[in-house]
């Protein structure tokens, strides 16, 4: 396994793609935490830790969750909304991938081509990507790791993201609801 660790930034002017540093995607049932393969349950716990210890956590739901384009999307979106609310996180949607001209309003918008502007403006220290097409998520995650100190989490319905600090793969409603229950339980005990 690669020695490269996918840590929160700022990593530098042009950080590498983690996949090119030897970080590989996990098998089904596993996840990535900072470049290491771990069982999914361990990653879920790590996500809960990060969300509950964050000062300004934000969720960035993408078009796959914001548009009801196939059966099951609305239920998954509602589950994610519940998780964000339970974790006390705010939501900035990413409905499409167009660069915002002449200038983004970083208070309410985010775009994969310049996600750092939104993170800087809102002083976001933990962010969660969900429902963003994998290519655009990876483009954004590298930019975030390069120029910000934001900790990145990807709840990915496909194969996962090496460039996120924590990434689930094949994540659906069961994983999201498990996270919500774990967050609620931790809040109850604290």
């Amino acid at each position: 396994m690669s020695q490269y660790r996918v840590m929160a930034g700022p990593e530098g002017y042009l950080p590498p793609a983690a996949a090119c540093q030897g970080v590989t995607l996990p098998e089904v049932g596993w996840a990535l935490v900072e470049g290491r393969h771990v069982p999914e349950q361990e990653a879920l716990s790590a996500i809960v830790d990060k969300l509950l210890n964050a000062k300004r956590p934000f969720f960035f739901p993408g078009p796959n969750l914001l548009w009801e384009w196939k059966e099951g999307v609305a239920a998954k979106a509602n589950a994610l909304r519940k998780l964000a609310d339970t974790a006390g996180a705010r939501v900035i949607p990413m409905p499409d991938y167009r660069p915002k001209y002449p200038m983004i309003n970083p208070a309410i918008e985010i775009n994969p081509n310049h996600p750092n502007l939104t993170i800087w403006h809102n002083k976001i220290d933990v962010c969660v990507f969900a429902g963003v097409h994998c290519h655009y998520a990876n483009v954004a995650l590298k930019i975030i790791r390069g120029g910000t100190d934001c900790y990145t989490i990807a709840i990915c319905g496909e194969a996962g993201h090496e460039d996120a600090n924590i990434s689930l793969r094949n994540a659906g409603i069961p994983q999201i609801e498990a996270l919500t229950a774990m967050v609620a339980e931790r809040r109850r005990l604290s």
Binding site: A17, C20, P63, D96, K142, D163
Partner: protein, 381 residues
């Protein structure tokens, strides 16, 4: 056309019965596409590729493909297949030599747009004075386009690699174009025994809604927008976006490695790797190397062979390990520039052991004696 049933790639590749046919490389393309569940194929003739896409046109007429037409030229064809792939269909085309060069702009565009197009390249010379003869120099121009590049040794490889290329290309985390390269004439126009699956089975359809980029079909989200909008402001934000985008294409090629292992058995194939002298080749240079190995054994010289199946991603780690103890690594090539030996020198320890040749080009054949002469030279040292 018989009724076809969909089978899993694993069944087709590993379990389905195979029938031996004595066919040309061009006909092997036809047989692969019959079983590939291709939605659309677009053609433009150029020797030595013309026959293959003509045969694909024939099977369109038989009902194996939903759409097929001839484009205005290679650039138009490669642009058109890009549009088809963006619309979420499985597409195939083929070209070679000057056709490759005419369409060159589109190959990094395919990769940047994450389009899982499969294109067969039947290599030939590209320089003036005009030649239609075999030469792999065009591959040197495609090394850094971002596409995956597989190199077929013979018609069997060509058949298998085309079918497997669709499955590798369409993986969500890969989702890149795959070029399947075969040496023109040597593979396309000669007959060989090729073992093919029954024609009543075909691969599962492409599932575009798991793509890492949105499908532009007016039903998928985000709806009705340009998918890869220009990020062309002259500022750091735009530069960073483009840099990250290019890195992601490189990352996607890295993610292809496990699938090349799964479906092709690895990026390289090795015979007698413990020998002091290794031959390292791709395409039909592998066939000639096999002949040279037989000749060397007859003279009592032990020689090993590394067959390069994947040029991109490049098997750097594999070659570093395989060549670690070799006294000499001879790299025969069918091109003037020796692009493969350059690639190998970049990744191995002690690159002075890499013998950049023998090389032939412009349509010349490579007699095994040329390779044997190099083997004898290093066996004496």
């Amino acid at each position: 056309m018989p009724e076809q049933r969909i089978v899993s790639p694993e069944f087709m590749f590993n379990e389905a019965a195979r029938e031996e046919q004595f066919i040309t490389g061009s006909e092997a393309v036809r047989e692969a596409i019959k079983r590939a569940n291709v939605d659309m194929a677009i053609s433009y003739p150029i020797t030595p590729q013309s026959e293959s896409m003509h045969l694909v046109g024939d099977i369109y007429a038989e009902g194996y493909i939903k759409e097929y037409y001839r484009g205005e030229n290679e650039f138009a064809v490669m642009s058109s297949v890009a549009g088809a792939a963006m619309g979420g269909v499985r597409v195939f085309t083929a070209t070679g030599g000057p056709g490759t060069m005419r369409a060159l702009e589109m190959f990094p565009t395919w990769a940047g747009a994450r389009l899982p197009i499969v294109c067969a390249f039947f290599t030939r010379g590209i320089n003036s004075p005009l030649t239609i003869q075999p030469d792999t120099i065009e591959m040197a121009h495609l090394l850094d386009t971002g596409m995956i590049m597989l190199h077929a040794e013979d018609a069997q490889d060509l058949y298998d690699m085309i079918l497997k290329a669709f499955i590798i290309a369409e993986q969500t985390e890969v989702h890149l174009p795959v070029g399947v390269f075969a040496d023109g004439f040597f593979v396309t126009h000669t007959r060989d025994k090729v073992r093919v699956c029954p024609v009543d089975i075909k691969l599962p359809a492409y599932l575009p809604y798991s793509a890492p980029v949105p499908v532009m079909d007016m039903e998928n989200v985000p709806i009705r927008q340009m998918r890869d909008p220009f990020v062309m402001k002259s500022n750091y934000v735009s530069y960073a976006a483009h840099a990250s985008w290019q890195q992601e294409v490189m990352a996607a090629a890295e993610r292809a490695r496990p699938f090349i292992h799964k479906y092709l058995g690895g990026l390289v194939e090795v015979e007698n790797p413990a020998a002091d002298i290794l031959l390292l080749a791709g395409g039909t240079a592998v066939c000639q190397s096999r002949e040279a190995m037989v000749m060397a054994r007859e003279e009592g010289i032990e020689v090993g062979l590394i067959k390069l199946k994947s040029v991109r991603p490049f098997p750097g780690d594999e070659l570093r390990a395989l060549t670690a103890k070799a006294k000499a690594v001879i790299v025969p090539e069918f091109n003037r520039v020796g692009w493969l030996s350059r690639e190998v020198r970049n990744v191995v320890e002690h690159p002075d052991r890499i013998v950049a040749g023998p090389r032939v080009f412009g349509g010349m054949t490579m007699p095994p004696d040329l390779i044997m002469a190099e083997i004898r030279r290093y066996a004496r040292e």
